[in-house]
Assembly symmetry: C2
Homo-oligomer: 101 residues x 2
């Protein structure tokens, strides 16, 4: 929900690997697990975390679950970072000017 949840979701290397694979295109759980060094249940658990963070979404197709990027949640995270860069880099410039005086 919050950007904190999203960043924490991306904090795990395995979860980031899953997320980046989904960024390349939708995939089923088994296909994801086949390309990763962890078990399928582990992938399921990570997908749940990513879904709770609204970074991915799930679509049921028969007995398969197709996961894909959630563009709305991703956009929320991007907005947070975009604002953050502005604030941070601006504050840094101001601190330089203050330090020079």
């Amino acid at each position: 929900m919050t950007y904190g949840t999203k960043i924490e979701a991306l904090g795990s290397p395995t979860r980031r690997a899953i997320f980046e694979r989904l960024a390349a295109g939708p995939s089923a759980v088994g296909a994801l697990a086949a390309g990763l060094p962890v078990s399928r249940p582990a992938v399921s658990q990570h997908l749940k975390a990513l879904k709770d963070a609204r970074l991915v979404m799930e679509e049921r197709r028969g007995r398969a679950r197709i996961y894909s990027i959630d563009p709305k949640g991703v956009a929320e995270l991007r907005d947070y970072f975009d604002r953050f860069w502005d604030v941070a880099l601006d504050a840094y410039k101001r601190s330089l000017e203050a330090g020079d005086a």
Copy 2:
């Protein structure tokens, strides 16, 4: 060094709180710890992680250590995300078109 290290550094709520305070302006270690619910050594340890990730940098002023945002490292993370948004959202659009067919 890598963007993975940076994202993992921001994965911890306490570390993110420290980072956001530094984004508002440079600060000494004690001043940071005074505004946080953890001890000063804990803050030192988090600052080390942030510094290893090149998200913050250190400047010695007498016996104080002034920490501030590292604009170069921050820019690297921003570049990664900027590229990522493009890839992810583009792939999502393409998957929609493919799914419609």
